[in-house]
C-alpha cells in the first residue's frame, strides 16, 4: 500500500525510521551471562550464535589490545585470569565504601582508594570503571545482534534487577550510551519475565517472579489482568546470587585442603571448578571438585546434601525477602496463582524445593529461566517503538529520602510506589540567618543515614537570612519510568532554586562521560581497523597451527623442495603477522595456501586410500581431524 500523504499530529515528530536509529532489541545484561532477543509482531526470538547458543558469557578479556567478550574470554580466564573481568554487574554503581560488603566476592584488583565515584578496576595494566566493562559487553551483544539480523541495532530495552538502586540504574544507562545504544527503557528483570510469560500463556491473576541470577536476587509480585502487568511489590538483594554458591563451595574446599592464600590464578580456577561442580550437582547426587591448590593437584567429592547445607542459609535469606514482599502487598502465599522461576541459579534443586514449600505449590517450569527475561525485554522494545497495548506499571524498590538533623532519614517516597512519581516535602532552616542548605539524598529502608545508601549531595545557596524555621524549602523527588531519580529544591519565599539528576556521585561524572564518548567517536574508525587486523592475525595463526600439525603427521608426503617452499611461505606469514599491515598478512596467507596446495592434495589422496583399504572410519576421521587442528 502506498501512502500519498504522511499526516502526523502537530508537535509530533514521526517515528524515526529504522535506518536512522537502528532497530530495537531487548537485552538481558546479566552477571554471568547476557542474552539478546528481538520481537516481531509479539513473537520474541532469542538471538543465537552459529552453534545455537543464546547465552553470551558476561566476561571480558583485556589480554589483547581489544577487549574480547564471551566464551573466548572465559577460556582466557582459565589461562590468564589477571587479564579477565567477570561478574562486573556486582560493581555497577558501587563506591569504594561498598566494597567492604563485597570483599572476597570480587576477584580483581581495585585501583587506588578513591573516596568519591565508582570503583575502578586494575586489569592487565588498564584502569577501568565497571561502566566501561559493561559497555564492552553491550558492544559485543550489539555486534552479535547486528550480525544475526543483518541490520544496524541502535536502540534497546535493557533489563536491570528490580532491586538495583538509583546509582546502579544510572550506571547501566551510561554503559549503554558508551556502547552506542539508545536506551528506550530500563525494565526490571522480573517484570520483563512476567511480560514474556504472561503474554505467552495468557496468564491472569497474582504471580510471583523469583529471579535468582549469578549475582542478584529479585522477588516481584505482579497482578496480571487483560494486558496490564502491575507490580504490587518488589524486594530482593542486589548482592546475592549463584556466584555466592560457588564461593561457598570454593571456601569449603579451601578449608578442607587446608591451604593458605591461594594464588589469584588458583582462586579463579577454583571458583570455575566450584561452578562446574554446582552445575553437575543439579543433575546428580555427587560430583568431584578438582583443581590445583598451593601448587598441588587436589580432588574432593561433594555430595548434594553437603552442598545443600552450604547454601541453605542463602536460600533462606531469599525466602525472607519473599515474605516481606507478600506482606508489603498484603497478600497471602496461598493467593499466588503461579511462581515463575527466572535466572540460571533456580536450576539448583534446593532452590526449587524451598521455593515450592514456601509458596505451597510447584513453581512453573515450562519456561527457559535463562532466556525469558531477554524475551520480555524484546517484547517491550517492540511495544515501545511500534506501539502495543500492554501496560507495565512498575514500582521503586527502595525508599528515597533526605538526611535531616542528627543523621536521621526523612523518607520522601516510600518503596513500592508506582512510577513515574513526583513528591514534594517542605523542610526549613534550623539556625538563625542560615543562608545555605546541604541536601543529602539517600536510598534505603533504615532510619539512620549511615545505614542507607548515599546517592548524592547538593547545596541550595542564596537563602535570604531569616529566623530559624522561617524559610520554606520545598524539595521535590521525581522518579521517571526508568526508575531514575531527579531531585530539585526551591526556597518558597524567594524562589531560589537548585536541581540535580542524582548521578555524578556514583556514576561517571558528566565530563568523564563526555570525554569517553568523544574518545570512542574519534577512535571508532581506528577501532574498526584494529579489529580487522586482529582478525587477520588470528586467521593466519590458525592456518599455521593446522599446517604444523599436518606436517608432523604426513610430512613424508612432500618433496624437500616443496617443503622448503612451504617453510619459506610460513616464515613470510609470521613476519607479516608481527607487523600492522592487514593486507600484507592476507597476501602472505594466500601465498602459503598456494605453496601448500600440492601437500594438501597428497594428504587428501592418502586419506582416501586409507579409507578404501578398509581401515576403520575412526582412523580416517582422526587423520582428517589433524587438518582442522588448531
Amino acid at each position: 500500500m502506498t501512502t500519498l500523504l504522511q499526516i502526523h499530529e502537530p508537535g509530533e515528530t514521526p517515528a524515526p525510521h529504522e535506518e536512522e536509529k537502528g532497530i530495537a532489541i531487548g537485552i538481558d545484561l546479566g552477571t554471568t551471562n547476557s542474552v539478546a532477543a528481538i520481537a516481531e509482531q509479539g513473537k520474541p526470538e532469542i538471538l543465537r550464535d552459529l552453534e545455537g547458543d543464546g547465552l553470551i558469557p558476561s566476561v571480558v578479556s583485556y589480554a589483547g589490545s581489544d577487549p574480547v567478550v564471551g566464551r573466548e574470554a572465559v577460556i582466557q580466564q582459565m589461562r590468564r585470569p589477571e587479564t579477565v573481568v567477570s561478574s562486573v554487574k556486582r560493581l555497577m554503581g558501587r563506591g569504594a565504601a561498598d566494597l567492604k560488603s563485597l570483599s572476597g566476592t570480587v576477584p580483581y584488583e581495585i585501583h587506588g582508594d578513591q573516596q568519591v565515584g565508582m570503583v575502578r578496576l586494575k586489569v592487565a595494566g588498564r584502569v577501568l570503571s565497571p561502566v566501561e566493562v559493561s559497555a564492552d559487553i553491550l558492544r559485543a551483544i550489539k555486534a552479535r545482534a547486528e550480525a544475526a539480523l543483518g541490520k544496524e541495532v541502535g536502540q534497546a530495552v535493557i533489563t536491570v534487577p528490580a532491586y538495583f538502586d538509583d546509582a546502579a540504574r544510572a550506571a547501566t544507562k551510561d554503559a549503554a550510551k558508551l556502547a552506542g545504544l539508545d536506551v528506550l527503557r530500563l525494565v526490571n528483570e522480573p517484570t520483563a519475565a512476567a511480560l514474556a510469560y504472561g503474554l505467552d500463556h495468557g496468564a491472569e491473576g497474582l504471580y510471583a517472579v523469583y529471579d535468582l541470577g549469578g549475582g542478584t536476587f529479585d522477588i516481584s509480585l505482579l497482578r496480571l489482568q487483560q494486558g496490564v502487568f502491575q507490580v504490587l511489590a518488589t524486594g530482593g538483594d542486589a548482592a546475592l546470587g549463584g556466584d555466592d554458591f560457588d564461593h561457598a563451595l570454593a571456601e569449603a574446599a579451601l578449608k578442607a585442603a587446608a591451604v593458605q592464600g591461594p594464588t589469584l590464578v588458583e582462586a579463579k580456577n577454583l571458583l570455575l571448578a566450584a561452578r562446574r561442580t554446582k552445575e553437575i550437582l543439579t543433575e546428580r547426587d555427587s560430583a568431584e571438585l578438582f583443581g590445583t591448590l598451593g601448587g598441588h593437584e587436589f580432588r574432593q567429592m561433594v555430595d548434594r546434601a553437603a552442598f545443600d547445607k552450604l547454601i541453605e542459609p542463602m536460600v533462606a535469606k531469599t525466602l525472607r525477602a519473599c515474605r516481606q514482599v507478600l506482606e508489603d502487598a498484603h497478600v497471602a502465599a496461598s493467593e499466588v496463582k503461579g511462581v515463575v522461576l527466572v535466572g540460571g541459579s533456580t536450576r539448583v534443586p534446593l532452590v526449587r524445593s524451598m521455593v515450592a514449600k514456601f509458596f505451597g505449590r510447584e513453581p512453573l517450569s515450562d519456561i527457559n529461566p535463562d532466556e525469558v527475561v531477554a524475551a520480555g525485554a524484546a517484547l517491550q522494545a517492540e511495544a515501545l517503538t511500534r506501539g502495543g497495548d500492554t501496560l507495565l506499571l512498575d514500582v521503586i524498590p527502595l525508599s528515597l529520602g533526605i538526611e535531616t538533623v542528627g543523621g536521621i532519614v526523612e523518607k520522601v517516597i516510600d518503596r513500592n510506589t508506582v512510577i513515574p512519581v513526583a513528591k514534594a516535602q517542605e523542610f526549613t532552616t534550623y539556625q538563625d540567618g542560615q543562608t545555605g542548605m546541604q541536601i543529602h539524598i539517600v536510598q534505603g529502608e533504615r532510619e539512620t543515614v549511615d545505614a542507607c545508601r548515599s546517592l548524592g549531595r547538593f547545596e541550595l545557596t542564596g537563602i535570604p537570612p531569616m529566623a530559624a524555621g522561617a524559610a520554606r524549602i520545598r524539595i521535590t523527588f521525581a522518579v521517571d519510568a526508568d526508575g531514575l531519580l531527579t531531585v530539585s529544591a526551591q526556597e518558597k519565599t524567594t524562589g531560589v532554586k537548585a536541581e540535580i539528576a542524582v548521578k555524578p556521585s556514583y556514576g561517571l561524572g558528566e565530563d568523564e562521560m563526555a570525554d569517553m564518548l568523544r574518545d570512542s567517536l574519534t577512535h571508532a574508525r581506528e577501532d574498526m581497523e584494529r579489529r580487522l587486523l586482529i582478525e587477520a592475525r588470528v586467521e593466519a595463526e590458525r592456518m599455521l597451527l593446522a599446517l604444523d600439525a599436518a606436517l608432523k603427521s604426513d610430512g613424508d608426503l612432500i618433496s624437500p623442495s616443496d617443503r622448503a617452499g612451504i617453510d619459506a611461505a610460513s616464515g613470510k606469514v609470521r613476519k607479516a603477522m608481527a607487523g600492522d599491515d592487514r593486507d600484507r598478512i592476507g597476501a602472505a596467507v594466500e601465498a602459503l595456501e598456494k605453496a601448500s596446495h600440492p601437500f594438501a592434495q597428497a594428504r587428501m589422496d592418502r586419506a582416501m586410500e586409507t579409507a578404501l583399504k578398509g581401515h576403520s572410519l575412526d582412523e580416517v576421521e582422526a587423520s582428517m581431524a589433524t587438518d582442522r587442528a588448531e
Binding site: E12, L392, V421, K423
Partner: protein, 216 residues
Amino acid sequence: MSQSEHERFNQSPEAGPVAPCWSCKQPVAARALFCHACGAVQPPGQLDHFARLGVAPGFDLDLDRLEKQYLGFQRAMHPDRFVTKTAKERAIAESQAVSMNEAYETLKDPLRRAAYLLERAGKTAAVDKDQTVHDPELLMEAMEAREQLAEVATIDDLEKLQVEAGAKAIDLLAQLSKAFAVDDYEAANKAATRMKYWRKFLEESRARRAALEDAL
C-alpha cells in the same frame, strides 16, 4: 478565536475551566488529556483527585471502578506510549502519569482518602500531620496494646493480637464512612487518627512476627 469568543467559551457552564493548548493555542478543557483540535497531549492541570480519575467524590468509593478508570487513563498516558514522541510531549505525558498515580494512590487507600477529603473540606487532617494526639481513650488503648506486643512470646498469641487490631481497623472504616456521609468532619478526623494508629500497630506486629519466626 477572538478574545470575546474565548471569554464566551470560558463562561459557558458546560465547558469547565479552559486553557489554551500549548501546541495550537486553541482553548482546551482543563481536564482534557489531548487537544480536541490538534491532538497534542495536554498537561495535567489543577484537578481534584476524584475529577482526575472521573469518579464521584466521597468516602464510599467503588474500588473496582476506580481501578478500571485509573488503568484506562494510564493506558493512554503512560510514558511507554510516548517513547517515540518529542521531548516536550514525553515530559507532559510523564507529568500526567505522575498526577494519575498520585490521585490513585491517594484514593484507593481509605486512610489517605479520608485525609484527602478532610483537607478538601478545609479541615486540618490530624492523620496527615504529626500532631500530638488528644484522644485519652486511644492513648490508653495504645499503651496497653504496645505492652502486649512487647510481651508476646508465641506466634499464636501474636496472631490473636493481630486479629483484634484488624477488627478494630475494619470497625473504624465503617465509622469513617458514616461520618463522611453526614459531613461530620470531627468524627471523621477522630476515626482516621485511630485508624492510623492501628495500622501502625499492625505493621509493628508484622515486624515482631518476623523476629519471632527467625528466632524459631
